[in-house]
């Protein structure tokens, strides 16, 4: 993507911001930080654009954003541990105008193993096909399907007395 200019890059950002933001938000539960991660991913891709093929761009930027989100989440957990903030209840993002998920649902999502969570939200929020998810995660399409089903089963088990989660048999 060597020849792409800033205006086109902003166009790509405009196109992918919302789904990417939504996936990252399920890692960080913070609106501004999630948007910052999305922008940081686009910036990194911008600086590395010489080595990115146009057909692989979407997978590249999603992979970068997910890795950044995972790292930030890990850092936040570590800092909370060091500063003994873990003893306090983490307040939800107060600026969120969107429906705030209950702590139980957030905890259930946070408790999912990272590879399962990636597949689930890339499928449900980014609307990616199994092939596209395979390109982001680097696993076979069949594995994508089984991970998605396992993620949904785990969520359902966690939230059983509560509301349902999507049908695991969706193609």
């Amino acid at each position: 993507m060597t020849g792409v200019d800033e205006a086109s890059w902003v166009g790509l950002y405009r196109e992918l911001e919302k789904p990417l933001y939504n996936v990252v938000y399920r890692w960080l539960w913070d609106r501004m930080e999630s948007q910052d991660v999305v922008q940081e991913a686009f910036l990194r891709c911008w600086h590395a654009r010489g080595g990115i093929r146009p057909e692989g761009f979407k997978a590249y930027v999603y992979r970068t954003a997910l890795n950044l989100a995972s790292n930030r989440r890990r850092s936040k957990k570590l800092w909370r541990l060091v500063s003994f903030d873990a003893l306090r209840e983490e307040p939800p993002d107060g600026n969120d105008v969107a429906p705030v998920l209950s702590r139980e649902v957030q905890k259930a999502v946070d408790g999912l193993p990272d590879p399962l969570k990636r597949v689930l939200f890339l499928s449900e929020l980014a609307g990616m096909s199994y092939g596209e998810i395979a390109a982001v995660t680097g696993v076979e399409e069949g594995t994508v399907g089984s991970r998605r089903n396992r993620a949904l089963a785990l969520l359902r088990k966690q939230l059983e007395p509560r509301e349902g989660v999507p049908d695991a048999n969706r193609a």
């Binding site: 800033e6 950002y13 789904p19 609106r31 948007q35 969107a98 998920l101 649902v105 929020l125």
Partner: protein
Amino acid sequence: MQTERDALFELLEPPPGGVERMRSRLAEPRRVTVGFGFAAFGVAAVAVLAALIVLLPRAPEPAAIVDNTILAAPELDRLLGRPSAPVPLSVERGDQRVQIEELPSSDPQVRIYRVL
């Protein structure tokens, strides 16, 4: 009524102004950021180094560089301004040592010998 499932998979709107912020960040000069892992490693390395410096036993004081017996050598008398002790004189002719006899001298700085 909205269910938890709807909320979990509902697409939320990102905070406004994202495109403008993206545009201005693209125009900024590239920042070099140090990752958390690198920073943590640096802090840990400094802490370990400091602990090693504090806890490791100190090396013993170095031995006296100059041995006093060396300083007492008569060859250093002139160098150190000490009065010279009388040194027995020997004279050789060819491979053979010859006998000498010291003669009286009126000057204490001058010694006179005669080869026998």
